[in-house]
Symmetry: C2
Subunit: 160 residues, 2 copies
């Protein structure tokens, strides 16, 4: 699959197509600037809508079928045994970028001391993500090459 070179929006931000590893008519999946765990990725609708209820039925179905496929492939690829799938839908639920996005994280025994500690970390990461996207010059902690390389691996994975 060739990822279109058109740009992807994520709230007010423009996402480099090299970070995107899977696209469908309504959705796209991208690697993370600072993944919390290996293969912590995001699945978003292509259309910029802040809230889950704003999606049409076609967009909703497509988004979750995409998440299902992406999650399943990444879980196997990373020898994980479970998945965390979550939408922080609105600011009072911890959403910082006002564009619907599903967090997908392959999980294994012992990855966090308590299974649920991942959510504290997730919330911190969501704040950091926003700060990093806001301050483009600070985007040095993970290079585009590293992200493009990971995305390229997942691209072949999703092609199978």
């Amino acid at each position: 699959m060739t990822t279109s070179s058109s740009s992807y929006v994520f709230g007010p931000y423009k996402i480099d197509p090299r970070e995107v590893f899977y696209t469908t008519p309504f959705s796209y999946a991208m690697v993370n600037l600072r993944p919390l765990l290996p293969a912590h990725v995001l699945v978003c609708p292509k259309r910029l809508v802040p809230r889950f209820t704003d999606l049409t039925a076609d967009e909703t179905s497509d988004l979750w079928l995409t998440a299902q496929k992406v999650g399943s492939r990444l879980e196997t690829f990373h020898n994980a045994t479970s998945l965390t799938l979550a939408i922080q839908d609105g600011p009072q639920a911890g959403q910082t970028v006002p564009h619907v996005h599903i967090h997908i994280m392959p999980r294994k025994g012992g990855d966090f001391e308590k299974n649920d500690e991942i959510y504290d970390a997730l919330d911190e990461k969501e704040k950091e993500l926003k700060q990093k996207l806001d301050l483009d010059k600070d985007r040095v902690d993970r290079s585009i090459e590293e992200m493009a390389n990971e995305a390229s691996q997942y691209r072949s994975l999703l092609d199978q």
Copy 2:
């Protein structure tokens, strides 16, 4: 809408139809034995499958369209401003009852000191839920009448 009197399965457990407030061809929504917040409800596929990837495309779409509708109605009804939507998909992600279920929680400012503390609480609740379902005699903390009454309110809400 009249909820069918047929029983609903939730993993190894049988759910009283009075706790169920919305059904579709593939999914059902039920109130919680011990809600973490007002209107903390669960949306499940009717078919007993442990993992999200086990669902067919029709089941996946139906499940999330149901969650979208239920979440939106309950958020408005409870004057909330956001929603937490999460699947703990597999034991290493905190799932205790081996039957796919979406946690839906309407959120408002200040409902938890930190937005993400809800997840610690959610994990504890999931463990308690399992214990309670395992020990039927202990199901006294919330009566079936109270649950049926809440379900009945939501039933009219979803009918609109």
